[in-house]
């Protein structure tokens, strides 16, 4: 399996799961956007299998977290289920897009034949990681400056988010658990659909997009946004694992290894989060995203120079 015995593969994936789970627990994000490219870079797992297996791993991790958040009443089940409807459509679009890329053949770069899927996914990941790193870096520097000046550690809304959250497109619904009197159903479905496309195509849970969307566009309290996000990820990633499974994209030994490692790693990371400051942690997180960009770029350049899929 990927050039290893089953036991060695299980141990290797568990170690990777431990590292990514640790970072996910530490920074309060899912870690899917790091895990998928790292599986490709370190073990040569094709992107379609990395995405499918990553989604299956996320289904397990989010189930564990949902049970814990459900116990303390942090989940708006109505909002979560409505978002699931939008997400399911988005996951299907994303997974189908990945299948199209998988069957798109090869492209010649220099003297090397590179699969179209590898090239496109590498470029998308590089853009996504640069964007995430830059947004987090700018926000954490602002928050650090604000904390130093005696203010609070908060993130500002931009004009797009303000216009979207104020949209009055019927049907309007209320979400009492989140304290929301009226919001357009289309905003909820749209947020679900957009994050579903990202999940199906890239294997990312959307913690860095859906979480801010729940707080700033839909207007959820932060604690409810965390719990509802996890509840929604549980369904969307399980659906993603199923639909990728239909296409043969889930490696079960890889999933088991990742689950074992990430379960342990996320607990260690989450316990450390309470001891370290938020903005400073997000600063470190931004540099990790930039480092991942360099790794994806280096792998792509090596493929172009030395050939291979």
């Amino acid at each position: 399996m990927f050039g290893m015995t089953i036991l060695n593969a299980l141990a290797s994936f568990a170690i990777l799961g431990l590292v990514v789970g640790f970072m996910a627990g530490l920074f309060g994000v899912g870690g899917g956007f790091l895990l998928t490219p790292l599986l490709n870079i370190l073990f040569g797992v094709p992107y379609n299998v990395a995405v499918g297996s990553d989604l299956a791993q996320m289904a397990g991790m989010s189930t564990a977290a949902t049970i814990r958040h459900g116990r303390i009443g942090n989940i708006d089940y109505r909002l979560g289920l409505l978002m699931c409807a939008g997400t399911a459509g988005g996951v299907e679009v994303g997974a189908t897009g990945l299948e199209v890329l998988k069957r798109a053949g090869h492209v010649t770069l220099g003297h090397a034949q590179i699969p179209v899927m590898t090239l496109v996914m590498s470029v998308i990941y590089m853009v996504l990681l640069v964007w995430i790193g830059t947004v987090v870096l700018r926000e954490s520097r602002k928050a650090l400056a604000s904390v130093r000046a005696g203010g609070s550690d908060t993130i500002e809304k931009n004009w797009f988010v303000e216009r979207l959250s104020a949209l009055h497109l019927p049907p309007m619904i209320s979400l009492p658990r989140s304290g929301i009197a009226s919001i357009s159903l289309w905003v909820i479905l749209g947020v679900g659909f957009a994050t579903g496309v990202l999940a199906g195509l890239l294997g990312v849970g959307g913690g860095f997009i859906r979480m801010p969307a729940l707080i700033y566009i839909i207007g959820c309290p932060t604690a409810v946004a965390v719990g509802t996000d996890l509840f929604e990820i549980m369904f969307s990633s399980a659906y993603g694992a199923f639909t990728h499974g239909m296409k043969g994209n889930v490696n079960l030994v890889l999933v088991l290894g990742l689950l074992i490692g990430s379960t342990l790693g996320s607990q260690i990371g989450a316990s450390l989060t309470r001891r370290l400051g938020g903005p400073r942690l997000r600063n470190v997180f931004a540099y990790i995203a930039y480092f991942a960009v360099l790794m994806v770029a280096a792998k792509l350049v090596m493929k172009v120079l030395h050939g291979g899929g």
Binding site: M1, I6, L7, L10, A24, G25, G28, G30, G52, A56, Q57, A59, G60, M61, S62, T63, A64, A65, T66, I67, R68, H69, R71, I72, N74, T222, A223, V226, L230, M234, A238, Y239, A241, F242, H244, G245, M246, K247, G248, N249, V250, N251, L252, V253, V255, L256, L259, T263, S266, Q267, G269, A270, T273, R274, G278
Partner: protein
């Protein structure tokens, strides 16, 4: 490790790249129900530990 070999075997029931590939039922169930069951067991264990030791969950972490 028979369990690992079984996991590996049900994932290799056919070549996914071949036209007309259809995943087996056991494989599909294992794809989404397996991780969710694993997560449910871990979640219940952690909830039990939190109750026993009186640990309060952070609003940020997973």
């Amino acid at each position: 490790m028979p369990f690992l070999q079984w996991l590996d075997a049900i994932a290799r029931d056919a070549n996914p790249d071949k036209a007309g590939f259809q995943a087996q039922g056991a494989y599909l169930l294992a794809c989404f129900l397996g991780p969710m069951l694993f997560g449910a067991v871990v979640g219940l264990m952690l909830t039990g530990i939190e109750r026993v030791f009186g640990i309060k969950l952070s609003s940020r972490g997973h």
